[in-house]
Amino acid sequence: MAETTTNGHAQSVVGTRTVRPDGVDKVTGRARFGADFNLPGQLIGRVLRSPHPHARIVSIDTSKAEALPGVKAVITRADFADQPSEFIPAGEMMMNYKDVVRNVMAREKALYEGHAVAAVAATSAAVARRACKLIDVQYEVLPHVIDAVEAMQPGAPLLHDDLFTVGVEPRPDKPSNVAKKIEIKQGDIEAGFQKADLVIEREFKTAPVHQGYIEPHAALATVSEDGTAEVWCSTQGHFIVRAHCARLLGLDIGKVRVTASEIGGGFGGKTVVYLEPLALALSKKAKRPVKMVMSREEVFKASGPTSGATVRVKMGATKDGKFVAATAELKYQAGAFQGSPVQPGVMCAFAPYDIEHVYVVGYDVVSNRPKVAAYRAPGAPISEYAVESVVDEIAKKLDIDPIDLRMQNAAREGTKAAYGPKFGPIGLEETLNAVKKTEHWNAPLRKWQGRGVASGFWFNIGGETCVSLTVNEDGTVSLVAGTPDIGGLRASLAAVAADELGVPFDKVRPIIGDTGSLGFNFLTGGSRSAFSGSMAIVEAAKQIKADLCARACKMWEAKPEQVEFSDGAVRPLGALAEKAKPMTIADFARVAGKTGGPIGGVGRINAQGAGPSFGTHLVDLEVDPETGRATILRYTVAQDAGRALHPAYVEGQYQGGAVQGIGWALNEEYIYGADGKLQNAGFLDYRMPVASDVPMIDTVLVEVANPKHPYGVRGVGETPIVPPLGAIANAMENATGIRFTELPMSPPKVLKALKEKGLNKA
């Protein structure tokens, strides 16, 4: 194992492809996910959901359900106290408790098909099902609206009569479906476009898509008579679950203990609560544990798929290819309550490029579909798809190589992004160069095959993180982190701990602790868990090292400057080395009690300095002109990881995000009928890529160290889903000569466009 140094830290495990410590349980079926927990005496909970996309809830009669033998509790809106308006972070988005309580259980209205209206807990799933059928809900069905642009029209059905657009001067006196207008501005747009030799303006439309995690939401809750509660759930943030549940149920945070199960995918969709407050409320009433698991149909209808959107982009360039001005207008669906990712969509739209004059405006629009939750780089894939498509058109019209054009305009260290910050060292150029050097870039193409390239960006976050390191009596190390491991985190954190303390990798045992074991941890999201967790471990290790040095000083009767911790041991320096021998972690462990007590450290930080991760994707595809079907032939991802703590899991993020992007670009979409009901609430007709749909995804790991992280780490999880939409749209244009401005580019759409140009012949 080669030793490398990054930012001054010697590493022998970090950067290698260790076998993840939690791996054996996962390949044997032993690992326990949300639905794999059971408690003796548990009841099964089930939700009754609105069949209407928009309706006033006139009355709810639960008496027949309550009388059914085997039913132990029934809850409705009456069981949840209303919450005053208060915005809180939800991943990289914001939410409002007033909306959360209404999303979890409808109050005045059902605002989407699938909205929870009541819930029961019964002795079996069959009884719970029958009980739900016995609940009589009287609805006053209202007209509905789904599309964001339609929802913005005057006269559109109004979801909330207390929603007044924020960000508009003067404040509107009439409510609407537009929750917010946001803008970012840089330079002088009019002047900018004056300088342009070429101006391209296009409008794009994307359909709503779902994160598509294979594990449905699941929670098991139990409430005791003294108000203490325990929850096991599949979540990206158990401390957030604790906070929301405490708030909604009126419990002390300290009395609620949440354990995060292994999580079967989240991608942002499990950063909010759905079942947990319901299970708690039911358990409180029934005085027994209550287990709730969503069906696949419920996941599609009642969790948090992302926005569909309409995006208009206008860019101006000189004939030499310099981008001089860029504007965009984004209209994003928020679903039933405000809070679409339009803000990050606005921020990220032009972020990969150094453009003097920029204006981006975004609208957060509510409509009658499930409340949107985060989906991997929320908002950015949509806006950057539009921008990367226009960039590609500029390249074609100016006859400039699409990589060279991006290179020419690339954001670099020192570039001021239109959304505010000045970039430190970043790796966009490196990823562009990396792609250009691949054999893929130069491979020949045949007729009906097209190659597309696109770049993308995500800013990444840090956030509150608490990790504890404990040295056990036998010198092994227990690592307790508080951010659920969604894809290899424990391997990365254990590697960092191993290198920091100089212990073998397999002597570090990482677990994700429950909320009672650690200080507050913000959720796993924002590509933050490896970045922040490793930072916190460095802190915790520092404490341990300082403590051990102090103990050594006592033992050796030495002064602090006579000892140092290096290479896994406290070492006597200079003359002291004649009378004292170095002591490893294991050596200290043996005498811990005698030298002061248990050895450990806790890293408690609000991680700052998250560095953005830029990526460039290259894709070849082939179109069957007689059917419009596209086949992905070849795919390369180059992305800046700063420093890859575990290369295989970084590659895994690149590959997984790319394939989600392939699905989003080609086949995934929420299909609504004219009645506002979802027509494809299952994996049969919500078409995610299967193994035979995609080729190998080649990856190039670029590492431009993040100077603000002790190892140079940048978050990597989200950027990979940003470039694929643009890259694939650009490849389609190259294969067919047609610019597709609507996603997904499904075969009926493609064939229709080919037919219109008389191109649908082999």
Binding site: T627, L684, D685, R687, P748, L751
Partner: protein, 286 residues
């Protein structure tokens, strides 16, 4: 919900004929269990026919092949002689769902589920297959194209089940092919399905043909006009164009979440031509 697994055809028929409420036949279960879970159907009685030997056998019969209604797609694929004689039928049955689904799904169930998008049905119709039914009044044979009358509507009377299919003897230089259009590479319900079965003579002229289209009408279609378009030809360009035109003319598809009307008609023509060319190629080398 009652579950019975009779060992004889007569036993199954008696159970179904005597059922008072909703009764369903269970073969592979790849449609029935999904519908039960989705609350689309709530049978009071399930009759599992897999213990009836006749429904599970593949035997040569009078130069043709008798295939039990409850033989799985995977078992069809593992039968080398059948695969050689009827590659189109076997490949159609093996396009249903995934490897896991093919381990259970049957042609009997695929037909009796009553979906015009069923994958194995166009291939069976193109093959000229007969369905052998057994009911309270005894046995009868129906051409497969006459079994499915419309979405979820079958020509079966109360108590009748499909016991087996009979594929006719194959003249020399005959073969078949089935193609379907789906947006992904696997796992989707057919947006269009095309089955072509043909025979060529020594000089390469098509002497017999049957063409069947799925997912383009309320039932799976037998398209005699499409067959006529290529009989007597070498499937040259003009014949292919006639074939495509006949396929287009036969379609009366719907607009739904899987495809538009226009798309289905266009693709039906393309797939029919492609399937015919594959069948031709196989027939020439058989």
């Amino acid at each position: 919900m009652r579950y019975e697994a009779p060992g004889t055809v007569e036993g199954a028929v008696a159970l179904l004929a005597g059922a008072t409420g909703e009764a369903r036949v269970l073969a592979g279960g790849t449609d029935l269990l999904v519908q039960m879970r989705a609350d689309i159907v709530d049978p009071g009685l399930i009759v599992d026919i897999k213990k009836i030997p006749e429904t599970r056998a593949i035997t040569e019969e009078k130069g043709g092949w008798r295939i039990g209604a409850a033989v799985t797609g995977a078992e069809l694929k593992e039968h080398p002689k059948l695969k050689k004689a009827w590659p189109g039928v076997v490949e159609a049955a093996n396009l249903i769902g995934s490897t896991q689904v093919q381990g259970r799904a049957t042609m009997g169930g695929n037909l009796c589920n009553g979906s015009p998008a069923a994958d194995s049905v166009p291939a069976l119709i193109a093959a000229g297959a007969l369905a052998t039914l057994a009911g309270p009044k005894g046995r009868r044979d129906l051409p497969v194209e006459d079994v499915m009358l419309g979405p979820r509507r079958l020509a079966l009377e109360k108590g009748e089940i499909v016991v087996s299919f009979l594929l006719p003897p194959r003249p020399p230089r005959s073969s078949d092919a089935y193609l379907r259009f789906i947006p992904r590479t696997e796992m989707d319900i057919a947006v269009v399905g095309a089955g072509v079965n043909l025979t060529v003579d020594g000089s390469g002229i098509v002497t017999a043909a049957r063409v069947s289209l799925g997912a383009v009408a309320p039932r799976v279609l037998l398209v005699p006009e499409a067959a006529q378009a290529i009989i007597g030809s070498r499937l040259d360009k003009p014949a292919q164009e006639r074939l495509e035109a006949a396929a287009r003319a036969a379609c009366r598809p719907i607009d739904d979440k899987r495809g538009t009307t226009e798309f289905r008609i266009d693709v039906a023509a393309v797939l029919t031509r492609r399937a015919a060319l594959i069948a031709l190629d196989r027939a020439r080398t058989s």
